[in-house]
């Protein structure tokens, strides 16, 4: 009788890819069955908290670092047994920021996207949001509830203040931005319908929209990039710990990373993956360019997010 | 004060005609009763006059004006519905006030009129009750009061007294008739009670199966019914075989077990024809039989409050029904003599 690993995954195209490609691959490699559970960090977090540290429903969870970091604090995850994750060593430093408590398996860098047909002067930097009058009232932003929203705050604090901790400056800048259209997750609708013409977008998304025929482009702002990250974590009390490690290692393997890159235009975190030429346009950030991705202090954010959320709500128009 | 005229009025439900090409003219201030068996189309006629049923064919005119397309509320009618149709969410007082409010009657006057009418229908003290807190008869009286209080030009009453006892009914009749005369309201009254129709109306319309069988004054209808059906419907009737002896100018001489008579005739008869003599039970007087008079044997007698009913058997075997006051009582098997004035007989065509 084969063992079964419950694999939490994002929905939609992610699920499709996991179901059609990755899960069979993993089954082939390990001999274990895979049950996909669609959701996101919030749901998995809620489920784990409801179930308690001792009895988690999952063995492995891949989610945004913003969720992962607080779950880690609550004791759900264990420090990776690196002996079981042979691919860990090949990761870019960026992917190893968690001090061995997890590994970033996917990175989707976030740049500044704009409608090529509706914008005359393409932006060069985040600052242009404030300075280019063309954008006035036509700016889209992630709302604070999205992890990208939180990064925006830290980014703007860094740009307009001393550092990312200088949120007073960040909020002041946000207040001066004037009317922006916020979305909790989906910015595509807004930019597609022309409700706004410029907004932070991850490269993969832009690539997809462009393929679907939308006149859109994305730049790497001078101040640096944000990113959606997916950290892979192993549950301390995982029901299938061995399989979980096997799966984690599988995800970090160059072959898998290449598959994911081709499918979702993510930037591979395994340094052994080479971006082929035909993908260069859609995956512009790789290798040394990964340094352009800024990193953030999630503990700081998690500790203060209540106050920030309130200030955000009062500030952003 | 409105004259109502109806011409070839018809109402069809699918193929069935509930009302079938009826015509009549109701004079200003006239009180007309619709009389007829259950289901003959009385309510339907009333509803068409009121404007609540689409007219399939025909015309309705108020004072010469065709009103078929006039909405009900512009016809200035008052109507008592067979099922009352009281507003359940309004108290008795509010129900009565509704029509007056529509007519913009000033408040104090309104209160006065309502009080007066409520007094007349003997529901003083019930002002604040909701309809569902009233008995059936009380509800009916509220419905009546609601239609009367507005003193409309035309009053349409659909069996407005059906659920009242005799005393109250009598008082209500007087009240309706008084108001109707005083204000001069043209009134169409639907009732299943022949006596009511007779005592109240200027004219009576007898309907059968959607058609008018006879229109006439109460005495006309009762004493000179145009056909056997009408006669039967407006009261009980005895049929006695008779033989035409000779025929004169609109009259015929007949012989019968009850005697020989010369009677006016509307039907064509020839000497030697067998016809029926019609006679109402209460036209017969009974006395102890003496020789030489038409006589009969008492088959049965019933007591019904004010009256005695007798079933009698003539010597030729025909049965008769007689109704008398219980002054002289006869027992089963008694021989009784029959008296009936000639003018109470009428001819109703060949007996089958």
């Amino acid at each position: 009788q084969n063992k079964t690993l419950i694999v939490p995954t994002l929905g939609g195209v992610w699920e499709q890819f996991w179901r059609n490609t990755l899960a069979p691959e993993f089954t082939k490699a390990s001999g274990a069955n895979v049950t996909l559970d669609v959701g996101n960090g919030r749901v998995w977090g809620a489920n784990m908290r409801a179930a308690g540290v001792a009895n988690p429903p999952y063995s492995v969870v891949m989610t945004n670092e913003v969720f992962a970091s607080s779950l880690r604090k609550e004791g759900f995850f264990e420090k990776l047994d690196l002996s079981k994750v042979s691919n860990y060593n090949d990761l870019y430093p960026l992917a190893k920021k968690t001090d061995g408590w997890g590994a970033i398996a996917m990175v989707s860098p976030i740049g500044l996207a704009y409608r090529t047909d509706l914008v005359k002067t393409p932006p060069k930097a985040w600052k242009d949001l404030w300075t280019n009058p063309e954008f006035k009232g036509k700016i889209g932003l992630y709302s604070f509830s999205n992890s990208a929203g939180k990064m925006q705050l830290m980014l703007f604090s860094k740009i307009f203040g001393k550092d990312m901790y200088d949120t007073e400056a960040g909020f002041k800048a946000l207040g001066e931005l004037g009317s922006v259209i916020q979305a909790d997750f989906n910015l595509s609708t807004g930019i597609a319908s022309g409700e706004f013409v410029i907004a932070p977008f991850d490269f993969g998304e832009v690539a997809r929209l462009r393929k679907q025929g939308l006149p859109i482009d994305v730049i790497v702002p001078e101040e640096g990039l944000l990113m959606f990250d997916q950290t892979i974590n192993i549950l301390a009390n995982a029901p299938e710990k061995e399989l979980a490690y096997e799966y984690a290692n599988f995800l970090l393997a160059p072959e898998t990373q290449a598959l994911l890159m081709k499918e979702f235009f993510i930037s591979p975190t395994n340094s052994k993956v080479v971006v082929p030429d035909d993908l260069k346009a859609d995956v512009p950030i790789s290798g040394p360019e990964m340094d352009k991705i800024l990193s953030w202090d999630w503990d700081f954010m998690n500790q203060n997010q209540a106050a920030f959320a309130e200030t955000w709500a009062k500030t952003v128009k | 004060m409105t004259e109502v005229s109806i011409e070839k009025l018809t109402k069809s439900y699918g193929n069935a005609r509930a009302v079938n090409a009826i015509s009549m003219k109701i004079a200003e201030g006239e009180f007309i009763s619709l009389l007829g068996p259950s289901g003959c189309g009385k309510t339907t006629t009333l509803k068409m006059i009121a404007g609540f049923e689409d007219v399939t064919e025909g015309a309705i005119r108020f004072d010469g004006q065709d009103v078929v397309n006039t909405p009900a509320e512009k016809r200035d009618i008052g109507m008592v519905f067979q099922n009352y149709a009281l507003f359940p969410h309004m108290t008795v007082e509010q129900n009565l006030a509704f029509g007056l409010e529509m007519r913009k009657v000033p408040k104090p006057q309104m209160r006065e009129r309502i009080a007066k009418v409520l007094d007349m229908v003997q529901l003083k003290g019930y002002e604040a009750r909701y309809p569902r807190q009233l008995s059936g008869g009380q509800q009916q009286r509220v419905a009546l009061a609601r239609a009367l209080v507005i003193e409309p030009k035309i009053l349409l009453l659909d069996e407005p007294l059906a659920n009242l006892d005799a005393k109250l009914r009598e008082e209500m009749r007087v009240f309706i008739r008084d108001l109707q005369r005083r204000v001069g309201i043209t009134t169409v009254y639907v009732t299943h009670d022949q006596a009511e129709a007779m005592t109240m109306s200027d004219r009576v319309v007898v309907m059968f199966g959607g058609r008018i069988a006879q229109i006439g004054s109460p005495t006309d209808i009762y004493e000179r019914p145009e056909n056997h059906e009408v006669a039967e419907f407006v009261g009980q009737v005895n049929l006695v075989e008779a033989k035409v002896e000779s025929v004169g100018e609109g009259t015929a001489t007949v012989t019968s077990p009850l005697g020989n008579f010369i009677l006016p005739t509307k039907i064509s008869v020839k000497p030697g024809n067998m016809v029926s003599l019609a006679l109402r039970p209460e036209a017969i007087e009974l006395s102890m039989a003496t020789a030489g008079q038409p006589a009969a044997t008492v088959l049965a007698s019933y007591y019904s409050g004010a009256l005695m009913d007798y079933r009698l058997k003539l010597d030729n075997g025909d049965e008769l029904h007689a109704q008398t006051f219980p002054v002289n009582r006869f027992a089963e098997g008694d021989r009784v003599a029959l008296h009936a004035p000639a003018e109470r007989f009428w001819l109703v065509g060949v007996a089958q």
């Binding site: 939609g12 699920e15 179901r19 559970d37 | -």
Partner: protein
């Protein structure tokens, strides 16, 4: 209100109701790869994609099943509660009503979270769909309750009396006399229950059984990443399906009661 005026007014309202939906339906026939309106050329390609999408089809089946079970449970216990509320509750009327409305008064997220903790606490967990269905029943219960209550208010008790005088026991009276009289309320409530259950997102998201998924979740996730006309096609199909069901039920059940 005169007839033509009323008809015109109602047509306007129907237009209002339809407007955003027409946009969606229009977008679903888009020949282009992007969800835009007006569509760039017409085609059925997104329908084909949709019908070949195993994940969607499975999600639809799950959703239909969950909605059906939810509708039955909510329909039965919501109707029972409404019967109590209208016919028997006296002083407890306000309390009963608020209690029955509570699932709507309380934020769905909070209900979802607290229920999630609760099902784990009592050992049901999210290994199956029980927790989710309980959540769906909670959310849809008020709709059944309110609709049935409203139509019960105009039930004439003398009908019930007549049936009793003819010797009908309680259940028979309910089935043969009361139910036909309040059927538009019950049907309305059950339709709501079904449709809403079909559309519930937050509760399903939190409480769905591991490894299963309902259509709204699929659609939601799908839309995060694929803003293609396929999503519009899914919506269009579900509208057409439901419309068919409603029109057939009008023909078969008659949504109007002939009381008078």
């Amino acid at each position: 209100m005169s007839r033509p005026f009323l008809t015109g007014y109602c047509l306007l309202i129907y237009a209002f109701l339809l407007a955003p939906i027409l946009v969606v339906v229009g977008a679903s026939f888009n020949a282009g790869a992007f969800l835009t309106f007006p569509p760039q050329g017409l085609s059925f390609r997104w329908y084909v994609t949709f019908f070949n999408n195993e994940v969607f089809m499975r999600a639809i089946r799950t959703s239909l099943w969950v909605a059906f079970v939810t509708m039955i449970i909510s329909g039965v216990i919501g109707t029972m509660a409404a019967l109590f509320h209208v016919l028997h509750a006296r002083r407890s009327k306000d309390v009963v009503r608020i209690a029955m409305l509570a699932p709507l008064l309380l934020p769905e997220v909070l209900t979802a979270i607290s229920l999630l903790f609760f099902v784990y606490a009592i050992g049901i967990g999210t290994q199956n769909m029980v927790g989710m269905i309980i959540g769906h029943v909670l959310i849809t219960l008020p709709f059944v309750f309110i609709n049935v209550s409203a139509s019960l208010e105009s039930f004439d008790p003398s009908w019930d009396m007549a049936a009793r005088s003819l010797g009908a026991p309680k259940l028979v009276r309910f089935r043969r006399i009361m139910l036909p009289m309040i059927k538009s309320g019950v049907i309305g409530g059950c339709l709501f229950a079904f449709i809403i259950s079909f559309d519930i997102f937050t509760i399903s998201f939190m409480l769905k059984g591991v490894g299963t998924s309902t259509l709204p979740i699929q659609l939601f996730d799908y839309l995060r990443t694929n803003f293609t006309p396929e999503a519009a096609a899914v919506s269009t199909v579900s509208i057409v399906l439901t419309l068919t069901v409603v029109i057939i039920s009008e023909k078969v059940l008659g949504l109007r009661i002939h009381r008078f």
